[in-house]
């Protein structure tokens, strides 16, 4: 299991070293108020035995992934917890339970299974099996539907909503800055959809949390859509839907487990399970099939692109096109300039300039200048990979980061190269890099570009779901999230010279 650099550095993937033990206090509910003893039963379980001699089996204490995320101590053998909560086996067992419930006519136990597939996943599968990204997606859809999944959606759909909210947020903050009504330093705005980056910031740089955009990631917006809008239209409660997302990244499992995305009332998560591209490929192989041999089936139309296009993508890199869309929207809203998002990816004229910082493709600066006066209007950047992220944080802390908006990804080459993606047969550093580049190219050569406004299915959903627009208080609650600094506990005993 390979988390991104930020997560690994913050010890999340750490094993308990011999000298370290979990410091998370576990609450044990006593069953009796009177004095009792704890004994080990013949089955190896722990029993609370009262004076009267009656024994009650004690619940096994469990440390969840979420406990670990909220703790600054070790993070146990996080992998075992992840495997228990967030794996393709979990999805398979839900599907099996459904089959059983159907056979035994226990309709109340049936759960609607929804799978959201990321466009980066499709690009990775397409690259390995030499398909178009659309075909790769349709084969995954066929496989999942055959396995008993009820709906298959595209996370590019919810990404459009995330893009719109991000652009709106940026323009609002920019205007507030112009009139001087910002109470704290908020620029540059740092993008928020990369969970590796969020985890790193929360654990090690709490002072930069105010800079981070509050907009939820495509995965979590899809989570809300599925558990509210879809649940309503199906006439079921959110906990009757089991929602899985297929992502290029292990860190997404951590994101789905955040308490911010847990519905207390229905005891359900917006995204119940995250599996990676590699894991869905393994699932196909374990089912005795192969991507080459699969038939194709369309995604479900409710939450997908539009019309016959079905799948579409947004302009920009496999990071999702945030930089491009936010700049395009801001140019129009703030300066009345028409700058199409796809022209920002390869700018030619119109005051746009794209430069590689110190010749590195993972750190690019994109500036927009006034066509007549040459005055610099907007200064954006992409920062991919831990190394550049690190330099950005250092500059930010010393007040030398002069960007307006930064698209941040913890992985070099952004999400096409996520830790959960398929690997090339050769794993030398050179072939890994070439492979990542070719996945990126596959991603970019996929479906035609579309702006969020052109997403007709989204427009329809919005007119029903958020008729009052996306900047009203209620939509803010569903589209925005918050971040929490993790207190560092310094454990003197852990120091090794």
């Amino acid at each position: 299991m390979s988390f991104s650099g930020g997560v690994r550095l913050t010890d999340l993937n750490d094993f308990i070293a011999p000298s370290q033990e979990c410091i998370k206090p576990v609450e044990v509910k006593k069953t009796s108020a009177t004095k009792s003893t704890v004994e080990i039963g013949s089955d190896g379980g722990y029993y609370e035995v009262t004076k009267e001699g009656s024994a009650t089996k004690l619940e096994e204490a469990q440390v969840t992934l979420n406990d670990c995320l909220a703790c600054s101590g070790c993070v146990t053998s996080a992998e075992t917890i992840l495997i228990a909560m967030q794996s393709h086996e979990e999805l398979i067992s839900v599907l099996k339970a459904n089959v059983l419930a159907k056979r035994e006519q226990r309709n109340s136990d049936l759960r609607t299974v929804v799978v959201t597939i990321s466009p980066q996943t499709r690009a990775s599968i397409a690259r390995k099996y030499n398909l178009t990204t659309t075909k790769a997606g349709m084969r995954l859809a066929k496989f999942l539907k055959t396995a008993g999944v009820d709906f298959v959606f595209d996370s590019a759909f919810s990404r459009d909503l995330s893009l719109m909210a991000s652009a709106k947020e940026f323009v609002d903050l920019y205007r507030n800055r112009q009139v001087g009504s910002l109470s704290e330093q908020t620029f540059p705005i740092l993008s928020s959809w990369c969970p590796g980056w969020i985890c790193y910031a929360e654990k090690t740089h709490p002072e930069i949390l105010p800079y981070i955009s509050k907009v939820k990631s495509p995965q979590q917006i899809m989570g809300v859509l599925v558990k509210t809008y879809l649940a309503q239209s199906l006439g079921c409660s959110p906990d009757k839907i089991y929602h899985v997302s297929v992502m290029p990244c292990y860190d997404k499992k951590l994101e789905a487990s955040r308490s911010d995305f847990y519905n207390d009332m229905y005891r359900t998560r917006d995204v119940d399970c995250v599996i990676t591209t590699g894991e869905i490929e393994r699932m196909i192989v374990e089912a005795g099939s192969s991507v080459q041999d699969l038939d194709e089936q369309s995604f479900d139309g409710q939450f997908c692109g539009q019309g016959d296009l079905n799948l579409a993508r947004s302009a920009g890199s496999s990071a999702g096109g945030y930089l491009e869309y936010v700049m395009s929207y801001a140019a129009s809203a703030l300066f009345g300039m028409t700058i199409p998002a796809d022209s920002i990816a390869n700018p030619a004229g119109s005051g746009l300039k794209r430069t590689l910082v110190r010749n590195h493709p993972d750190h690019q600066e994109i500036t927009l200048s006034h066509p007549q006066t040459g005055e610099q209007l907007l200064r954006f950047a992409t920062v991919y990979g831990f190394r550049h992220l690190q330099n950005m944080v250092r500059k930010l802390k010393t007040g030398r980061c002069s960007y307006d908006y930064v698209e941040v990804a913890a992985c070099p080459g952004a999400c096409g190269n996520g830790g959960g993606q398929l690997r090339p047969p050769e794993t030398s550093p050179k072939s890994l890099k070439e492979w990542a580049n070719s996945v990126e190219n596959t991603y970019k050569a996929s479906e035609p570009c579309q702006t969020p406004e052109e997403n007709l299915a989204l427009a329809e959903v919005l007119s029903n779901w958020l008729p009052q627009g996306i900047d009203q208080p209620w939509p803010k609650k569903v589209l925005f999230t918050s971040y929490h600094a993790v207190q560092q506990a310094t454990n003197g005993l852990g120091v090794k010279w």
């Binding site: 090690t204 831990f386 550093p429 050179k430 120091v495």
Partner: protein
């Protein structure tokens, strides 16, 4: 007696962790648990060229020149002079930061930059021979490579997270941009740049416990490593005549283990190793000093050709001094990097003292 104690430098208020010679060979920097760095030099510069000394160290033969009251919040674990001009000093601290200090005639040492990034204790800082790159490593299992961007500041150019435990020490190859790191995971890793990215090109396995320190021979043809497993190992580096000749394919046959000074080279963990800069003739490959938890300073003579090992490499013990820092651990041994001063050796210990030695064969 061929190892002469010339000076005892007292002043640190806590154990002394590491030493670094100025590239001129005429000054020495030491860092300590007292959070300071002290700069020492002979009172009479001519001393370094002398070859006979009084039987007992003459008080005042060396003096404290300067002191960096560091802003580090915890122990300064590592110190390194910039190797081309010696105008800057890098310090690495348990507070998780690395600082760059520059000497100013009026202000003394001033902090030019603080490099943050390590999650917790930084264990070592090392400057590449060109002075353009800096490597740091630490308890967070990572090795960071930084590049000078002018004005005393550095940009991070790589974060290498392949060690599975605490990284204890990093050191650069003397002529190539090749870095060696050693770890609590018992391995030594060799790193190299390719197309703007740094890769682990080789994992040297063989030590059975924590590897504490490493040093390249002055010509870069061998790497010596010392460990908790009480052995000293010598690894043959690939040919370094021209950089194009170095093929860094993972798991290639290069970096063979050439020689092991067997267990009981020391009787307790070996913390530090240094390869001398004596001019090497055909057979003689210089001296390797070691020190560690058994309070003993040892010097090995390294020979090529005549050795029993298949590569022709051999190391033989030529000097052993028990209790070189009394009953205290020896944390660092460091030969003077200048060939003309190659007989000078400095050591640092848990007793808070820095000792200067003169060695003649």
């Amino acid at each position: 007696m061929t190892l002469i104690l010339v000076a005892e430098l007292e002043g640190h208020k806590d154990r002394v962790w590491q030493l670094s010679w100025h590239p001129s060979g005429e000054r020495l920097a030491s860092c300590s648990g007292d959070r300071t760095v002290r700069i020492w030099a002979p009172s009479d510069p001519g001393l370094l060229s002398a070859d006979s000394f009084p039987e007992k160290p003459a008080p005042g033969a060396w003096k404290a020149l300067d002191q960096i009251e560091s802003t580090h919040k915890r122990t300064v674990r590592s110190v390194a002079y910039e190797p081309t001009t010696g105008k800057q000093i890098a310090t690495a601290s348990f507070d998780g930061t690395t600082s760059i200090w520059e000497y100013d005639e009026y202000q003394g040492y001033e902090c030019e930059a603080t490099l943050e990034g390590h999650e917790n204790e930084v264990k070592c800082v090392s400057w590449s021979p060109s002075g353009q790159l800096l490597a740091t490593c630490g308890r967070d299992k990572s090795v960071w490579i930084w590049e000078a961007v002018g004005g005393g500041d550095f940009d991070c150019i790589s974060v290498l997270m392949e060690h599975t435990h605490d990284v204890k020490f990093v050191t650069w190859h003397p002529t190539e941009e090749i870095l060696a790191s050693v770890s609590y995971d018992n391995t030594v890793r060799i790193w190299k740049e390719d197309d703007d990215d740094w890769y682990c090109t080789k994992i040297l396995e063989g030590h059975t416990s924590t590897v504490w320190s490493a040093d390249f021979s002055p010509d870069g043809s061998y790497l010596v490593t010392v460990s908790d497993d009480l052995t000293v190992k010598f690894w043959k580096a690939p040919s370094v005549k021209t950089s194009s000749e170095i093929e860094f394919v993972p798991d290639s046959g290069s970096w063979d283990l050439a020689y092991t000074v067997p267990a009981q080279a020391h009787t307790r963990p070996i913390y530090s190793v240094s390869w001398s800069h004596h001019a090497s003739d055909s057979g003689n490959h210089g001296l390797v000093a070691t020190g560690g938890g058994d309070n003993t300073l040892r010097i090995f003579k390294t020979v090529l050709n005549g050795g029993r090992d298949k590569t022709g490499f051999e190391a033989t013990l030529v000097e052993e001094l028990k209790n070189a820092h009394g009953q205290y651990d020896i944390n660092c041994v460091k030969w003077n990097p200048c060939q003309k001063y190659s007989c000078w050796l400095a050591t640092a210990g848990d007793d808070g003292v820095v000792r200067i030695w003169y060695y003649t064969a």
